[in-house]
């Protein structure tokens, strides 16, 4: 019995270790390489002990200033998309939770179906439209697109959350004179906060790293960080791996910090409704 338990424990440990190695080694390689002298990055045999240097970060600052402009654009677009997606998803989730009709049921299914369409399918036809509207290369177009792309998933998630909040609370607030928006803002939103944060994390991670929409709809003014990183991988004059890894590390830090801070809420958000009958 004890041996069984021990074997199971070891098995679990090995599985977890394998999972960690699988997911963390590439990230660790990128981060440590960003501090290695250039000629040691791909040395054979690999050099695990090295004198750390910030030369790549210095070169990133001096030679790729556009990367930091890209980070600022990414931050602005990500924040905007998050706000729009969270507000829209919460409002829509509330409606889907509190009102039932055939039309709403069908539209909810439609939301899920829309989410299954590959982004490229809608991206290219949108290009001439966005151009005709004159909003190409603006933050607005990316904010709207990123938010739109996540509103469907966010709505479904928020509906699940709001379903768990007793309707009696709405009714009590209504008796006190609160309108729909007042109920949503003052009663539902605070109780559905874990769900709101979960949606926020999804949108932030997506918008921060997104490439395709940014590539198609931006130019000089609103180029985001992933586009600049892709240019560093350019095939014409070779890749400076040290700078590329430094940029990847810098780009990783904010989103990683955000996800770590939100991690607890994210898990709660993802498991919401799991036991709902």
């Amino acid at each position: 019995m004890r041996i069984d338990r021990l074997a199971r424990g070891i098995g679990k440990g090995v599985a977890v270790a394998a999972l960690l190695v699988w997911s963390l080694v590439p990230i660790a390689f990128v981060v440590t390489s960003s501090f290695k002298p250039g000629r040691d990055i791909f040395a054979v045999p690999a050099r695990y002990l090295f004198a750390p240097t910030l030369e790549h970060y210095g070169a990133l600052w001096s030679r790729w200033g556009v990367f930091f402009e890209g980070l600022a654009n990414s931050a602005l677009v990500t924040a905007g998309a998050m706000v729009v997606a969270v507000v829209s998803s919460t409002c829509a989730g509330y409606v889907y939770s509190r009102h039932k009709s055939r039309v709403l049921g069908a539209s909810l299914l439609f939301l899920i179906v829309v989410r299954l369409i590959p982004p490229i399918v809608i991206t290219l036809p949108l290009f001439p439209i966005v151009n005709a509207l004159g909003i190409n290369d603006t933050h607005l177009v990316l904010i709207v697109l990123y938010a739109t792309f996540f509103v469907s998933l966010g709505t479904v998630l928020m509906r699940t959350f709001i379903d768990q909040i007793p309707r009696e609370l709405d009714e009590a607030a209504a008796i006190d004179g609160a309108g729909r928006i007042g109920i949503l803002w003052g009663v539902i939103a605070p109780l559905a906060l874990p769900g709101i944060l979960a949606v926020a994390v999804f949108v932030v991670v997506f918008a921060w790293n997104e490439f395709l929409f940014a590539f198609v709809f931006t130019g000089t003014a609103t180029k985001t960080a992933p586009l600049v990183v892709s240019e560093m991988l350019g095939s014409i004059d070779g890749v400076d791996w040290g700078i590329l890894f430094a940029a990847s590390t810098v780009q990783l830090v904010p989103v990683l910090a955000f996800v770590i801070v939100m991690n607890r809420h994210l898990v709660a958000g993802l498991t919401a409704g799991a036991t709902k009958g």
């Binding site: 000629r39 791909f42 005709a132 928006i181 007042g182 590539f215 198609v216 000089t220 892709s230 070779g238």
Partner: protein, 429 residues
Amino acid sequence: MTDTTPRGLTRRRFVASTLGSAAALSAVPAWAQAKTLNILSHAVHERVLGKDDGDLLRDWKAANGVELVFTTFDSNPLQDRLFREASLPVTDFAVGYIIDNRPTSAIAALFEPLGPLNAVAPIEDFADIAPGLIQGLTVDGNLIGIPVRHATGGLFYNEALLEEAGIAAPPTTLEELIEQAKKLTFTAKDGTPVTGMIMASDLAVFPVSFARAFGGDYITKDFKLLPKPEAMVKALAALNDMFTAGALPRSYATTKNDDQVTWMQQGRAAFTMITFARYAQFNNPEQSRFPGRIKAVQFPKSATYDGPMAAVTEAWGMVIPRNAADKDLAWAYIREVASRRVTLGMARNGNGPVRVSTYAEPAFAAASPVAGEEAKALATARGAFPPFPEAARAQQLFLEDVQLAVLGHKSPEAAVESMVSRITPLRPA
């Protein structure tokens, strides 16, 4: 008593703030300058023009009151964006940079024919621009682009490893190259396992160069597939021989362009074939274990072939989308960039010069130790294959058969037969 005063977010406030934010964000492009020339290019095209005191266009910009705004992407995304912009009713981009193996007839129709513009306001000493590069940007009789940069392939070798293996000079024939590559598949004194030669398996340029070394080709300018099939058979047999002997990496099937650079910089490979423009990167002391020891010569032809060796080259040209607004300004920019002075300046900044005369300039020769070899290679160089609508798919099929032959899963003869049967239907009628 219940307080019914509206608090926090109301429907009206929400709508008003959303519209306000949208208006503020969409107003950003209006800040652009009055006389702006928008250019769609790769970052390297902007970089070689220099900046601040080294800005090669500073005087021209001041004289014309022009602000240049470059929007840059990597090569393939750039071509994709350029063609999409040129397909719109109107585009903000007046100048684009195009790769010479992309313009099919349909794509070329998106761009302004430049012959008439050149007749009215000619480019300085137009005949000095390499004719092969001009030809690559001439589609259906129309010159649609002015060459601005070329990347021509050469054979790079690690001089230190050659010395260590007792080899006095780089190869002068393909047979010597194969022999030396086999000899250089060894463990170096410092313990590094060395592979004779490394080449990417996902680009046609390598098997095409081997075929040309035997007088053959993949697809000619007039779309003739495998004009000399026996040359391709010999090329594939030579590559298979190298792979079998271990003179190509075991990981050949997954080797990429960037692997060629890192392997050479680390002394893991003795030879590679890549554009001469990579010389600086190979010898960069911050990245390479062999700064100053990685040199280049023309890719050698077989001792059995008497004709000229045609290196593979790829050129970039400047184009004007037909739907661009200010074509006169665009042409003025192109004329200036194509001038002898700017061509030389860009060459000193690492650009492959498109003018023959630039190679004779002492200032350029001093800046580029491989300039002489590059000039010789450029004289007979041509693209890996001409543009046609199914070129990408044809290249994929071609590379499938090449890989199977190199890895020994198919005989060279069977691979060539397969190429003919699968690629022939894809060629233009």
